[in-house]
């Protein structure tokens, strides 16, 4: 019990956020908005880690460090993704995910 806020509340918020991110990932057409949805997903996981760390296992900082590294990875991921998006934009002059389907079946 963290001063009135039970762990499950954090987890529920994080889970909702996670699936909102998933929803965004699944429906957004613009690649950048999809990227944003991804950030939501990663962010929600971070909340999980932090909440666990603080409320259940405060003796070490595993969750926190995990979060730090996830953020770093997210940054790297975002940079690569954006680079590729820009490349796509140069080729196709749009970044609609539904148009990126030259390869199929």
């Amino acid at each position: 019990m963290f001063e009135g806020v039970p762990l499950t509340w954090f987890l529920i918020v994080a889970t909702i956020m996670f699936f909102i991110g998933i929803y965004g990932f699944l429906v957004r057409k613009n690649l950048i908005t999809i990227l944003m949805s991804l950030e939501l997903i990663l962010n929600s996981v971070n909340i999980n880690f932090v909440a666990f760390n603080k409320l259940l296992y405060p003796q070490h900082m595993e969750g926190m460090f995990f979060t730090v590294f996830v953020i770093a990875v997210a940054a790297a991921e975002a940079s690569v993704a954006i680079a590729i998006i820009i490349n796509i934009y140069r080729r196709l002059i749009n970044i609609d995910v539904e148009r990126i389907d030259e390869m199929k079946y």
Binding site: M17, Y23, M36, V50, M64, I82
Partner: protein
């Protein structure tokens, strides 16, 4: 309602509402802004949990770095005034279904689990201990991941440059 609870509900509400707006807004720059709000409130949660260092990173790296990166790329690739197209209804329904089912499954399962809150004292989360841990090579030390992430960032950078740079011709 304690302060903590109030703060939590505030941040939680912001997070959920703006998350939804992020994935539904039809103006892309607004979406990015909503994302920023989400990230900032997340940082707020971290603050609340006394992870100040983490919250700072969240604000600088995430809110500051990534969102800016995203906004730049938006500016580079999109018409600001342009409204995004609505996704197809079936897509929304299917995605929504997946998300709702997934969320309910996860939440239900989480609620089933009996978490035992810890009464152990929290290890200090001041910058000192964090710095110690980051260069420590023992258990609960993070020197190795720190090095690895540097390789990751380096190669991601090189890769991004390679992919994004214009042709020389």
């Amino acid at each position: 309602m304690t302060t903590n609870q109030f703060m939590f509900f505030l941040f939680a509400t912001i997070i959920v509402v703006f998350s939804v707006l992020t994935v539904t807004s039809r103006r892309i720059l607004r979406a990015a802004t909503f994302l920023l709000f989400v990230l900032v409130s997340t940082a707020g949660l971290y603050f609340m949990l006394k992870f100040n260092f983490l919250a700072a990173i969240q604000l600088t790296l995430y809110a500051g770095g990534i969102v800016v990166l995203i906004i730049f790329s938006i500016l580079l690739t999109s018409q600001i005034a342009e409204k995004l197209e609505q996704p197809a209804l079936t897509k929304k329904i299917f995605a929504g279904l997946a998300a709702v089912i997934g969320a309910s499954l996860c939440i239900y399962t989480i609620l089933l689990y009996n978490f035992i809150p810890s009464n152990l004292p929290s290890i200090g989360t001041n910058v000192d201990t964090i710095g110690q841990a980051l260069i420590s090579t023992g258990k609960y030390g993070y020197a190795l991941p720190f090095e690895v992430i540097s390789i990751l960032l380096l190669s991601a950078m090189i890769g991004s440059i390679i992919v994004a740079k214009k042709r020389k011709d």
